[in-house]
Amino acid sequence: MSRVRVLVGTRKGAFVLTSDGKREQWEVSGPQFAGWEIYHLKGSPADPDRLYASQSSSWFGQVIQRSDDGGKTWESAGNEFAYDGVPGTHQWYDGTQHPWAFARVWHLEPSLTDPDTVYAGVEDAAIFRTVDAGRTWQELSGLRRHTSGPSWQPGAGGMCLHTILLDPTRPDRIFVAISAAGAFRTDDGGNTWRPINRGLHSDGMPDPDAEVGHCVHRLAMHPSRPGVLFMQKHWDVMRSDDAGESWREVSDNLPSDFGFPIDVHAHEPETIYVVPIKSDSEHFPPDGKLRVYRSRTGGCEWEALTRGLPQSDCYVNVLRDAMAVDSLDSCGVYFGTTGGQVYASADAGDSWAPIVRDLPAVLSVEVQTLA
């Protein structure tokens, strides 16, 4: 019988939640790396027992951990993220130029085919790759060296590269997103990159339609249709049908089009999920009601999913990397909150129940569907 393993990164450690395919009874293990911020942990699609974790702290910097037994035991991997050459500068909050400086790894994206190859999205924004299971990391510096690089500036959370999508049909195509520079794509394995932000409109910018500078919060893709992308921008939910060449807004009847995560149903490429948040200064759900919104039409028509979720006095946030889906026949959807709850739905969002209620603030949620 299939099993599900949910990997949860929090402000104070990592937790692994496991269940059988019914997803009713859960075993909670952790915390691993207690006291450290775990921005993200994720398993290799090519070897589900191979996991990678980003462990960091304000005191002791960045550590990368690797597990070869599904998270039971871990070994420290390489943690040197050196920018290629002289890093140069980017724009700072006050408009001055600021040296590029490594702060932490926000996101780890294992290769679809090789357990030893992983991409890392880091702050200050850059993408790194290891091909030796995390022992050494090399920057794919064509991204940071894009001519627009000196104009990139941090969002409130730092200038982070937080999203990496690998195209399963074109191994040399990678999509990334940076706050607050926007989305970028490479078609040559990471040597050269170009912005893919046409159609985005951000009123907080001097030129709302500029090529770069947009605060993209998250990208999502269904593996069967890698040319169709979905985006939760700072404000606006967006869709592209041409691999990011152009975007159109699909927010429509959402109660707020601000939010962080966005994800796609495992078996229905037009079914997508977002969690509306009231505003960029009020990082909690509108009306104190925690609602996931689902569109079965790839955007534009949204329905509120509320059964099992708190519908009064709820003021948590759901961060950008804190939503995931499993690939069981009845698609499971999962998300974690800054209040420490991890909610699961075994019926594609129709009903929800908390797996755990009292973890530290959840930074990331990933799901592995195991045979």
Binding site: S58, F60, G61, V63, A82, A101, F102
Partner: protein, 94 residues
């Protein structure tokens, strides 16, 4: 002597002892420590600058040596092992 989180990371029970070739300095002690426990690289000193991380302090013989030059000689009591070189995580919330 290391902060608890770094002892856990390096799987050290109690104090770590290292042999230092040449004069005992902050740099030579930390180099020896990192050679024996590679997982500590980057956690005490920044990789790029080799500077002490802001929330890490160095104490020895009841003195704060955090602002001493990395190549300044440590007190003899450290070099002989009579007193510990203390790597301390700053007391700060979070």
């Amino acid at each position: 002597m290391l902060p608890a989180h770094l002892r856990t990371l390096a799987r050290i029970d109690g104090e770590a002892e290292v042999e230092v070739e040449g004069p005992a300095t902050q740099r030579s002690v930390l180099d020896a420590l990192e050679a024996r426990y590679p997982m500590l690289r980057g956690t005490i000193r920044d990789y790029a600058t080799q500077s002490r991380r802001p929330f890490v302090r160095f104490f020895a013989c009841e003195e704060d040596l955090s602002h001493e030059a990395p190549d300044a000689r440590l007190p003899d009591a450290i070099a002989t092992g009579a007193e510990p070189f203390m790597i301390v995580g700053a007391i700060a919330g979070g």
